[in-house]
């Protein structure tokens, strides 16, 4: 692979000790930057033979500690595998190496009239490999579906180093759906090296709107009513007042700051359809006392709105150096009451919480902002975080809508799944990876006293309230 692409200096390893979740850290023992599937396979075979754990990493934008090597070992960073191998405009597919950045694929598609729909807010940086491993969602997934709905074929290096290909350019339904299993597997079933993805024709008419509300209730009710009315917007996003302030500081966008909540909405389709939907949308917004409604005048304005929305979470960095966010999906009917409870928890523990999320999907993202160096604050956010999670789960929510379980949420898995369910999942994992080498200690709760003592106990998420270490 060449010495240049193998990193083992102490400072080099430290740079890989965490992803975008700053709560848990562990450095690898070596980092490799392969360029080809063959190189990945050689590294994995070596690990298999010598029983060395290995962990895949894309751009390290993950929010659940997925890409950090909890047991040390080899970190396989796939960002150099960044070639778009084929764009097939007839069959509406693209075949890519996994290190391709999500937004770069869409740039390459610009002239084709097609686009790759799943657009996580981190799309300017995250890799398609990371998207597949986390089954990433995004702003436009309410209408177009999440990553798993767009994967037609995968090339995978299995945990024993063998290279296998699954699927083709068309959908098939024979045999077990192994692609479905690998999408969202968080690197625990092997390393994905190539993918063929489904592309979507661009709609002819796209319009974006902004509506402001004086209360969270009215915004929440508007969301419920939009969905209940049968409208399928191509985006329906919520921002609270604090988020609007952060975004305005980061981008020259001028979102109105005099309201409690802002909804960003997009409609697309043919002109005829969009005009019809627009009328219905406007009626619902005014019925729910929207203070102002604006529409983006040009394609540039629309892109600017979405760029600002996508930068929102990172813009929180202007207020506190780190954020800890939950990623639950709740029934949309519960939106308003859950949001109000979250805000109350913030007040109670004196913690800053920013809410910006995919409202149309009911996919909440309460972002708790904190300073990792402030021990007292750390305790408060962990406590508040637990309470928020309780509220969400009580409302019928799930643990993760799109960011994955990784290590950061693994200890909560047993609250959602029975021992029997978890065991079934573990059996599947063992069928792929009997030696437990591929991204070990992820997804499943770590049992106390199971010998993982080398894990730094300063990892607050692994230790707070519970029987797990």
């Amino acid at each position: 692979m060449g010495h240049r692409f193998v990193l083992d200096g102490p400072e080099e390893l430290i740079a890989y000790e965490c992803d975008a979740c700053l709560l848990i850290k562990n450095a690898p023992e070596i980092v490799v930057l392969p360029k080809t599937t063959q190189e990945v396979s050689q590294v994995v075979s070596f690990c298999h033979t010598h029983k060395i754990p290995f962990t895949a990493r894309g751009a390290g934008t993950g929010l659940s500690g997925g890409a950090l090597p909890l047991k040390g070992g080899v970190l396989i960073s796939l960002n150099r595998m960044d070639q778009i191998l084929e764009i097939d405009t007839e069959n509406h597919t693209a075949t890519v190496e996994v290190g391709v950045v999500n937004a770069h694929l869409n740039q390459a598609l610009e002239a084709t009239g097609l686009f790759y729909a799943p657009d996580p807010s981190s799309q300017s940086a995250c890799t398609l490999g990371g998207n597949i491993a986390e089954n990433a969602g995004g702003i436009h997934c309410i209408k177009y579906g999440v990553t798993t709905d767009h994967i037609l074929a995968l090339e995978v290096v299995l945990p024993d180093g063998k290279i296998t290909r699954l699927g083709g350019k068309t959908r098939s339904s024979h045999g077990l759906n192994l692609i479905g299993l690998l999408v969202g597997s968080e690197g625990t079933l092997g390393i994905i090296t190539q993918a063929t993805v489904q592309l979507t024709p661009k709609p002819t008419e796209i319009r974006a709107y902004l509506a402001t509300f004086s209360t969270i209730e009215s915004a929440g009710n508007a969301v419920s009513q939009i969905i209940a009315s049968g409208l399928i917007p191509s985006a329906l996003e919520f921002m609270d007042a604090f988020t609007v302030k952060a975004v305005n500081q980061a981008y020259d966008i001028g979102f109105p700051e005099d309201s409690e909540a802002v909804l960003l909405i997009e409609l697309d389709g043919t002109l005829h359809v969009v005009l019809d939907q627009e009328d219905r949308l406007m009626a619902i917004l005014s019925e729910n006392n929207a203070q102002q409604t604006r529409s983006a005048q040009t394609a540039e304005d629309r892109q600017a709105i979405w760029a600002a929305r996508k930068g929102a979470v990172a813009a929180y960095g202007r207020f506190q150096p780190a954020f800890y966010l939950h990623d639950t999906v709740i029934p949309r009917s519960e939106l308003t009451s859950v949001l109000k409870k979250i805000l109350a928890i913030g007040k109670k523990h004196q913690i800053l919480i920013g809410n910006v999320f995919h409202a149309g999907d009911g996919n909440l993202h309460p972002n708790i902002l904190f300073d990792p160096d402030d021990a007292d604050m750390l305790q408060r956010i962990l406590k508040g975080g637990e309470e928020i999670l309780d509220v969400c789960l009580q409302a019928g929510g799930v643990l993760s809508g799109e960011h994955g379980i990784g290590i950061e949420k693994s200890k909560y898995m047993s609250r959602l799944f029975s021992e029997a369910d978890l065991n079934k999942m573990k059996q599947i994992k063992a069928a792929f990876d009997p030696q437990q080498l591929s991204n070990p200690l992820k997804i499943f709760p770590i049992r106390a006293g199971c010998g993982e003592t080398h894990l730094s106990i300063s990892n607050p998420l692994l230790t707070t309230g519970g029987a797990w270490i």
Binding site: L33, A59, T61, Q249, A250, Y251, A314, G317, D371, D373
Partner: protein, 435 residues
């Protein structure tokens, strides 16, 4: 031989740590970073660099832990020194991390890590050679002679340089030195009744791209400005970016005083690197007595030639320029000064000229001051990326507003034997005013 360390006050760890904390590790800056792009390594990425710096400073504060495990400056310095300072990461960062300031502070901190001999050589160059235009012209004269009189061909042909690989490497980097059409300090052009602009000529720009100054003057006069050439010296960019603030300050004070004395409405630069340094004088001289206020005034008046011309429609041009043109956005215009659309908006007004889009136009070319001398391998890899995109445009002319970029891209295209023309955008504007 030993050298005493020139004293530079160290930045405060606390303020640096505070700036570093604004990085929330989101990774949005990774794909725009040229060194990450060509190395694939996160240690050579903005996020990695910031993270290591923070780690090191926090280690140093934590006296209780095991000092053996502390990250040491000598481990981190090489990764910061490989940073181009292109500031693409700052543009991409939603969290507002002041990367440029952090880099500058850390460079001051790491000065003592540098080889003292090289450091003194550089300091000599920054404070004695660059600000001395007579010396520069003298050197340029001999180099020109070396190149023109066939001596270069002879030397290269005889292969004597292969005995001295290092010199051979640098000899190859010397670009052809063009003829110089001198102008004297105190000259002025145009109608004294018009808005008054002071032209900042810079050191390298003046030796290598003196013709660009003439084009600038012509374009300004044609657009109703009165151009003066006040007393001035090198802007100090290289010293400033190298963390040698004492040298940079001396040069800054000189420029601020003597140029303001000419009572300009605007101070014009046609070099992105000089322009961004002149604008940074406010920061550099912020605590410098009477210079604090003067430097603020000076920096406010400083404007890039293309940004000034973009303020009003161009005076009607007389000649069409039927060329396809691609624009490379110099980092120190695009990222450091936020001058993004102005150059193309001006070029757009030239009849017959067709602008072709250049992919990743604001991705660094790898020149970055003396980076191409210090890190030739990385610089070449970055240049190769740039040249690939430039060639893909198939434009007839490539324009860019910075001497370092002009030199670097010229070298890249020459190596590929590509005959594409390379120019400063103001040259096209000036040409459109030719008879």
């Amino acid at each position: 031989m030993t050298f005493s360390e020139p004293s530079t006050p160290l930045p405060s760890t606390n303020s640096l740590l505070n700036s570093l904390k604004s990085c929330i590790h989101c990774g949005f800056c990774l794909p725009v970073c040229p060194t990450y792009k060509v190395t694939g390594s996160e240690v050579e990425s903005p996020r990695g660099r910031l993270y290591l710096l923070k780690h090191m400073l926090q280690d140093a504060k934590n006296e209780s832990d095991e000092p053996n495990e502390h990250l040491q400056p000598k481990q981190i310095e090489p990764h910061l020194s490989q940073c181009l300072g292109c500031l693409a990461c700052e543009t991409a960062c939603p969290s507002g991390v002041p990367y440029g300031d952090i880099l500058h502070q850390s460079q001051k901190m790491f000065l003592t890590q540098k080889n003292p001999f090289i450091r003194h050589l550089k300091r000599f160059f920054f404070q004695t050679v660059l600000p001395n235009s007579n010396l520069l012209q003298f050197g340029a004269f001999w180099l020109r002679l070396y190149q023109k009189a066939g001596l270069q061909r002879l030397v290269r042909f005889s292969n004597v340089l292969s005995l001295l690989p290092l010199i051979q490497h640098y000899e190859a980097l010397i670009p052809p030195i063009p003829q110089h059409k001198p102008f004297n300090i105190g000259m002025s052009f145009g109608n004294p009744e018009h808005e008054r602009v002071a032209l900042f000529t810079g050191c390298i720009m003046d030796v290598m791209y003196n013709s660009v100054h003439w084009a600038t003057i012509k374009a300004l006069v044609n657009n109703g400005y009165y151009v003066t050439l006040p007393e001035q010296t090198c802007c100090g960019a290289l010293a400033y970016h190298g963390g040698e603030d004492d040298i940079a300050k001396k040069l800054a004070r000189k420029n601020v005083l003597s140029i303001l004395r000419s009572q300009p409405d605007w101070v014009i630069t046609n070099s992105a690197g000089c322009g961004s340094t002149l604008k940074d004088y406010t920061k550099l001289l912020a605590n410098d007595g009477i210079y604090a206020e003067k430097s603020r005034l000076f920096s406010e008046k400083t404007v890039d030639i293309m940004a000034l011309l973009a303020k009003k429609p161009l005076k009607p041009c007389r000649l069409p320029i039927p060329q396809t043109v691609a624009y490379h956005a110099a980092c120190h215009l695009h990222h450091a000064q936020g001058i993004i659309n102005e150059p193309e908006n001006v070029l757009h007004q030239i009849e017959g000229l067709t602008l072709l889009p250049l992919k990743d136009a604001a991705f660094c070319c790898g020149s970055a001051g003396i980076y191409n001398l210090e890190h030739p391998e990385l610089s070449n890899d970055i240049l190769a990326e740039k040249i690939r995109h430039i060639e893909a445009t198939q434009a007839q002319t490539l324009v860019t507003g910075n001497p370092g970029c002009l030199l670097q891209i010229t070298k890249g295209l020459q190596e590929n034997a590509n005959p594409m023309r390379i120019a400063h955008p103001i040259e096209l504007v000036a040409e459109s005013y030719s008879k």
